[in-house]
């Protein structure tokens, strides 16, 4: 029987439903141009301004992360120096510092010139370079010794061999990393808002809340999405090639050059200073401010509720989002149908999308549903439902699922891919049905992937600012929201303790990754683990 005549498959239906729930709201964004054709005309000044800021960010953050990330990756991959094992992992730690937390630190210390486009470029470069670093490093380490040795045999010096063979081979991975860093920078709201840089995310917020025009906000969001999708496609394209090359280039590791004297000292001190500036100094300063805040009674009155809300939202999302991801990934595998695969691709589009875009996209259909539900409940049962979707955290969970599904999906899918299909078939041949296969073959094998997915979603939700800010229900302030509110009022001490908690929680997956790599023997394996972690973190 061909697939065309097969009755509709249950798993395909499940996959399609997931995709519809996640991607449906996003499809509605361009509709805003049809609903209010002249909407954006009132804000004609916002678009060129946002385009200019976007161009500056793309150029500055692109160049900054490219240079910093690649240089550090080359340093730890091709050279050896005392403490290298520690330093190569310490260099990942800035991933745990959200841009707006570093901004709080920089503004609180009154570092000169932060409140500018250049300041934003510097902040993003410092907190986002690890994307480039991780991918470049795993690409460098995967390069075979034979290629570099062949280059040297042809008369190149070691340095020439690295520059003319090593770097070009890693180019797709490096550019992929840059694309990811740029997507993060464009999705950011907290940093640019606090620094007064007028990007699209800031414009969306201003149009929505200073001019109260949701349609125009949706139109701006549509414009931003088109920029982000371009980057996403670029990244997928480059990453595809990077994978291919990594697999093609197996062999022995390149022996690193042993640095001595001043060179070794510089190789140790440089990275340590960098990590000290981006992670160490903020932690110490935030700690000191927190102590002062507690001592002088400057904590926000809602601090306790905000901490509780952050934990509850993150924990709940860490269950919901991976669960949807398993449904999706398993649906694709079980049905093997083309629509299901396409649906999975569509459903995971949300990660590249800024939280404010997701919020705008989600709130309109939810508010509409809310009104309908309320009317139905009222007329049928005489029961006042209140605002079931937009008045509670349900709306927030919807947004988190849209935004972070890709993250969980790639972690789950990665471990599902490691389960060979023959295993399914063997189990089926032995008389098991699909549910049996899931229970006795997949669940045990998926455990690690699920834990990774849950951990990633948990920390991302803790950090998430724009969607939470726009969709939080009554009483739903989170730590991230309190940091942003206090910082925008220049109440740095009040902002410090919530910010500190966010960073400490964010360190968890990074530290977990480090300890995981400690257990592995081969450096190559560790590098690939890092690569797949970055993969999961950024959800290719």
């Amino acid at each position: 029987m061909t697939s065309a005549t097969r009755p509709p498959d249950g798993w395909t239906a499940v996959t399609l439903l997931c995709a519809l729930l996640v991607a449906g709201p996003l499809v509605g964004l361009p509709l805003s141009f049809a609903l209010a054709p002249g909407g954006l005309a009132r804000f004609s000044g916002f678009v060129p301004e946002a385009l200019e800021a976007t161009a500056v960010l793309v150029a500055g953050v692109g160049a900054g992360t490219l240079v910093l990330g690649t240089a550090l990756a080359a340093l730890v991959s091709f050279c050896d120096f005392p403490g290298r094992r520690w330093i190569e992992w310490a260099l990942v730690l800035p991933l745990a510092v959200p841009g707006y937390v570093f901004t709080l630190f920089a503004l609180g210390l009154k570092l000169p010139g932060v409140r500018s486009q250049l300041g934003a470029v510097a902040v993003f470069t410092l907190v986002l370079y690890p994307y480039v670093y991780l991918l470049a490093r795993s690409a460098f380490l995967a390069q075979s010794r034979t290629l570099l040795e062949a280059a040297r045999g042809l008369g190149m010096s070691r340095r020439q061999a690295i520059a003319r063979v090593g770097l070009p081979l890693a180019r797709p991975a490096i550019l992929g990393g840059v694309a990811l860093a740029l997507m993060e920078a464009l999705a950011d709201f907290g940093t640019v808002n606090l620094l007064g840089v007028r990007t699209f995310t800031d414009a969306i917020y201003r149009v929505w809340f200073n001019a109260f025009d949701r349609q125009a906000a949706m139109q701006l969001a549509t414009l931003l999405v088109s920029v982000t999708l371009t980057l996403l496609l670029l990244e997928r394209f480059l990453r595809g090639r990077a994978r291919y090359q990594q697999n093609a280039a197996r062999g022995e590791l390149v022996p690193p050059v042993r640095l001595r004297g001043p060179a070794a000292a510089a190789a140790v001190i440089g990275p340590l200073l960098l990590v000290g500036l981006v992670v160490g100094a903020p932690l110490v300063q935030l700690g000191a401010w927190s102590v002062q805040a507690v001592g002088r009674g400057l904590l926000a009155p809602q601090f306790g509720a905000a901490a509780r809300n952050s934990l509850l939202l993150a924990a709940m999302s860490a269950v919901i989002v991976p669960a949807v991801a398993v449904l999706l990934a398993y649906g694709v595998r079980a049905s093997g149908s083309r629509p299901a695969a396409l649906a999975a691709r569509t459903a995971t589009i949300g990660y590249g999308l800024p939280g404010s875009v997701v919020a705008v996209a989600v709130i309109v259909p939810l508010a509409w549903l809310d009104r309908r539900l309320g009317d139905v409940a009222g007329s049928l049962f005489g029961f006042d439902l209140g605002l079931l979707l937009t008045g509670t955290v349900i709306g927030l969970f919807a947004a988190y699922t849209v935004r972070f599904l890709a993250l969980a999906w790639s972690a789950v899918e990665a471990s599902l891919l490691r389960v060979p299909r023959q295993l399914d078939e063997a189990a089926r041949g032995l008389g098991a049905d699909r549910l049996d296969v899931l229970a006795r073959v997949h669940v045990p094998l998926l455990r690690a992937g699920l834990v990774t997915a849950a951990l990633l979603v948990f920390t991302e939700v803790m950090k998430e600012l724009p969607a939470t800010l726009l969709l939080r229900p009554l009483g739903g302030d989170t730590l991230a929201v309190s940091v942003w509110q206090a910082t925008s009022e220049s109440l740095f001490r009040t902002a410090a303790l919530p910010a500190l908690l966010i960073v400490l929680v964010g360190l968890a997956p990074v530290v977990a990754m480090i300890s995981l790599s400690g257990r592995r023997r081969s450096e190559l394996e560790a590098a690939q683990a890092a690569g797949s972690w970055a993969d999961a973190e950024v959800a290719a």
């Binding site: 109260f212 009155p301 509780r308 605002l387 955290v393 549910l435 006795r440 009554l474 509110q485």
Partner: protein
């Protein structure tokens, strides 16, 4: 794992998940329906004791929901008849005016409030009442600018401050309200001239009033415009903070004053408690507490401002015309965009 075990596990897990989900929804959605919900743009000013005192006194639960005044306005508007807000508190007049015009606020008659609060500090229809006053005036460096060297808003536009003027961004509610008030009182042409003279000084535009003060203290600017309580906070932290304020336009109409105000939400079904809260907050004792906590000016005559601000002497305040300024909001935004006040 056997098949039966999995089915049991999935159903148990599912049930647990649903229960947990419901729990989280309830836990994060405020608390009982028997509570007074205040949407307050003041909530990030730190602990404000009067709200707690009221809750302790009446035994009511009081939930403060924070956000910027315009966020809260947009939220109530989109929640419509199903909003849970009972009281809306803004930190500027423009959003009170918007809320009134959008029909969000219910008119409230209270002889007590009408007796206590001066006429221009409450809506003629009773839709809102001022809670505190905030003067937006000239700030100068005590090290580089002599007292009285700049005494008017127009003075900030003199060429001698070229490159030495700091302003907060043009999207700030306080600046928009200031400009709308000027347009209402002096007309668009005169206001445009004023703004253009400021812009000709190539001001450094900063993100908050506190940053404007810090820029003056650090020597990046000599003069600026800010709300007086920001200076009060700085001086409470550090009595030797090198910035002083000048009460602007004392020989003219007086210093521009904005207000933080509040009103009862029309969709509230606890209007009586809402009124009681408002009356409570407007008592002299609580007014003094607001003045002490955030260094603002009380609206009730006879209540002393905080010592940090009182040290600058009393001043003549310009009249407040919320409706007049409100009608000029769009024009103000257009003007600011046109002269390039970003």
């Amino acid at each position: 794992m056997s098949r039966r075990k999995l089915v049991v596990l999935i159903s148990a897990g599912g049930a647990l998940l649903v229960a947990a989900f419901a729990g989280v929804v309830i836990a994060t959605s405020g608390s009982s329906s028997n509570e007074l919900v205040v949407y307050s743009a003041r909530s990030h000013y730190g602990e404000e004791q009067p709200f707690r005192d009221f809750a302790a006194r009446t035994g009511d639960d009081l939930t403060l929901f924070g956000g910027s005044a315009s966020e809260l306005y947009e939220r109530i508007r989109s929640e419509g008849a199903r909003t849970r807000a009972d009281v809306l508190i803004t930190v500027d007049a423009a959003n009170l005016w918007r809320a009134k015009r959008a029909g969000i606020l219910a008119p409230l008659r209270s002889p007590e409030l009408e007796r206590e609060i001066p006429k221009d500090l409450r809506d003629p229809g009773g839709a809102w009442y001022a809670l505190t006053l905030r003067a937006r005036t000239i700030m100068r460096s005590t090290a580089r600018v002599k007292p009285g060297a700049v005494a008017t808003y127009a003075g900030l536009g003199e060429p001698r401050w070229k490159g030495r003027l700091c302003l907060r961004s043009g999207t700030s509610e306080y600046n928009v309200s200031f400009v709308a008030d000027r347009v209402a009182k002096y007309g668009p042409a005169a206001t445009e001239r004023l703004l253009r003279s400021w812009m000709a000084n190539r001001p450094e535009v900063l993100g908050s009033d506190a940053d404007v003060l810090d820029a003056i203290a650090d020597g990046r600017c000599d003069v600026g415009l800010a709300n007086s309580y920001y200076l009060g906070r700085k001086l409470a932290d550090d009595p030797r903070y090198p910035v002083a304020l000048e009460w602007a336009d004392q020989r003219g109409h007086g210093t521009h004053v904005n207000l933080s105000g509040l009103g009862v939400v029309r969709a509230s079904n606890r209007k009586d408690e809402a009124v009681r809260l408002i009356e409570y907050l407007e008592q002299p004792r609580e007014q003094a507490e607001f003045a002490r906590n955030n260094k603002e000016f009380p609206v009730v005559p006879g209540v002393e401002p905080a010592p940090e601000i009182a040290s600058f002497g009393s001043f003549k305040r310009d009249t407040i015309d919320v409706d007049g300024a409100g009608r000029q909001l769009e024009e103000a935004l257009r003007l600011m965009d046109e002269v390039g006040w970003q």
